[in-house]
């Protein structure tokens, strides 16, 4: 049994594969989310596709939840994962907001 400060109990042998796949999918789905957002902003995709983008973010958040649950993370790590999920949701919006302003200043 590992120190309870780190995790509430050991990871089950059968859960490792799910943990590795879900943590891989966190960034793959996250990449789709920001990719779709970016493609819409540069007009490579139509606006309604953003719903699909948000669906990918929901999948990202679910994978983070699944990964954290199977790892039996402590309270602090659980909060860190929530912060990461929200950070990923806001990231393209914040970057695009700044980017757009600089483009407008630069072009007008």
């Amino acid at each position: 049994m590992v120190d309870e400060a780190l995790m509430s109990r050991d990871i089950l042998v059968d859960d490792f594969l799910t943990i590795f796949i879900s943590s891989t999918l966190v960034l793959i789905f996250g990449g789709f989310y920001v990719g779709i957002y970016t493609a819409i902003k540069v007009k490579l995709l139509k606006n309604w596709m953003m719903y699909i983008g948000y669906f990918f973010w929901i999948l990202t958040a679910y994978c983070l939840y699944l990964m954290g649950s199977l790892m039996h993370v402590n309270d602090f790590t659980a909060k860190a994962l929530v912060v990461a999920a929200i950070g990923l949701l806001l990231l393209p919006h914040a970057v695009y907001y700044m980017q757009d302003h600089v483009h407008q200043e630069n072009e007008h």
Partner: protein
């Protein structure tokens, strides 16, 4: 602001650095192949070139060729960015020869002396025994002098010439890069303290200063190759710098989980490691966004032509955005939380991550810079791909991805058997090494290593001959 090759001594010096970098890249791959063969056939070159020596040359050559290529990249872009010749170029050339001579002697000592008595003599004259930065102390001091000279040239040129955002970022970044090397130079006989400081070099180089350096190169490349707006690109760069340093510096906690440091590093490592992929995602968007935007502007003007002026270099820059995201991001994230890292650290998972991350995040963009230098040296307006360019990128990328997948499968077997089922015991370690998945994984890694090496030969051929091809726009 582009400065021509014929009038710039700085650009000539850059090509010297790139030449040595490419040579060391070849050495890295060759000794990697020897080590990979030894995994499959343990008696190969036994007591002639043991695994410990082959691996040492493999990973030290990796670091050194990248440092050479980084110095070369800075000497290449400085005249373009500052509008003047690099200040102290004579010193720069002298230091290049000092650096090259020191590296040659160090490698010869690694190969022919290999080990020394377990006392101070070894640390001073043979190697220090610290992975990635094993240069003996005399060479450490030499490298410090070379790095200080390089930083001085960069600062003097940045102060005298036009100090663009890219140059400002590089000035701040390179001083941190050189300063951090000092933390890996002193020796203590307490392994925890030694590792604590060693990670300051390794982690704060590759997950902070080197990543920022890559951001600066990507910014320069986007301006040079697709004509991206400087103001936009430099704003991106500052965002990336903030995000990379914000998450990367304390992300170091993920190396402090199990080396004898206090337990609060679990929490720090978990939080900042969870945030570390965010800038990598941002860098990925950065390249796609600017490319889409510039191509869109051309389309709006009624032009159907590509905005890319150096296709092989741009291909490598795209590989960088993708490779950084996959290697450092995906392969880093799935074993970065302390709960799972308890089981994965020191297994073939680490090796899988190391291969794809170093290649994806750094090798790709530095190869791209070499193609920019070839374009500038041959005074070509639009550099197109050749068959060799395509074979090189396909085989090198395919080979490294293949190695990574093979090592990941081997690592999974390693984790399940040696750690999860048998609790990190010696018996568990040896049982895991004998499993079919791990053994076959290492065979596939060797085969993919051969593919990578053949790709490297295409790369060298291409770098030497692409400038003479006639299908470019001059």
């Amino acid at each position: 602001m582009a400065s021509s090759y014929s009038k710039s001594e700085s650009k000539k010096l850059a090509t010297w650095y790139f030449t040595v970098a490419a040579t060391l890249f070849g050495a890295q791959l060759l000794f990697g192949l020897v080590a990979a063969i030894q995994y499959v056939m343990p008696g190969f070159l036994f007591e002639i070139l043991d695994f410990s020596v082959a691996r040492m040359v493999h990973i030290n050559a990796l670091v050194v060729w990248m440092v050479f290529a980084m110095f070369g990249s800075v000497y290449w872009l400085l005249p373009d960015e500052t509008g003047i010749e690099t200040v102290g170029i004579g010193l720069g050339k002298l230091l290049f020869w000092v650096f090259t001579a020191a590296v040659t002697v160090v490698v010869l000592v690694y190969l022919f002396i290999q080990v020394g008595p377990a006392d101070e003599t070894s640390i001073w004259f043979i190697h220090e025994g610290r992975e990635y930065i094993e240069a003996p102390r005399w060479a450490d001091l030499g490298i410090t002098v070379v790095a200080l000279g390089f930083v001085a040239n960069l600062f003097m040129t940045g102060i005298k010439g036009n100090r663009s955002g890219i140059v400002t970022v590089l000035m701040a970044d390179m001083i941190a890069f050189a300063g951090l090397y000092l933390t890996g130079m002193f020796y203590t006989d307490n392994i925890s303290i030694d590792q604590f400081w060693w990670w300051w070099v390794i982690h704060l180089w590759v997950e902070a200063t080197w990543e920022v350096f890559v951001g600066a190169l990507a910014a320069y490349g986007l301006i040079t190759m697709i004509g991206a707006h400087r103001k936009v690109v430099e704003m991106w760069l500052w965002i990336e710098v903030a995000m990379l340093f914000g998450s990367g510096i304390l992300g170091m906690g993920h190396h402090y989980f199990w080396i004898g440091t206090p337990e609060y590093w679990w929490e720090i490592g978990a939080l900042f490691s969870a945030l570390e992929p965010l800038p990598l995602v941002a860098m990925f968007i950065h390249v796609l966004y600017d490319w889409g935007k510039m191509q869109g502007e051309e389309a709006a003007k009624g032009q159907d032509l590509s905005v890319i002026t150096n296709k092989p270099a741009f291909t490598w820059f795209i590989m960088n955005a993708l490779g950084n995201f996959l290697g450092a991001g995906v392969w880093g994230f799935f074993h970065t939380m302390p709960q799972v890292n308890l089981y994965t650290h020191g297994t073939q998972f680490t090796s899988a991550h190391g291969h794809l991350a170093f290649f994806g995040a750094y090798a790709t963009i530095l190869i791209g810079m070499m193609y920019l230098a070839v374009q500038g040296k041959n005074n070509i307006k639009i550099l197109n791909n050749t068959k060799s360019s395509i074979w090189a990128v396909s085989m090198i990328v395919g080979g490294v991805v293949g190695m990574t997948v093979a090592l990941t499968l081997a690592g999974y077997s390693d984790v399940i058997i040696s750690r999860a089922q048998m609790g990190a015991t010696w018996a568990g370690y040896f049982d895991a090494q004998a499993t079919t998945w791990l053994v076959q994984g290492l065979v596939w890694r060797l085969l993919m290593g051969v593919v990578t090496f053949v790709g490297f030969l295409f790369l060298v051929k291409d770098l030497l001959s692409i400038g003479k091809a006639t299908h470019h726009v001059r």
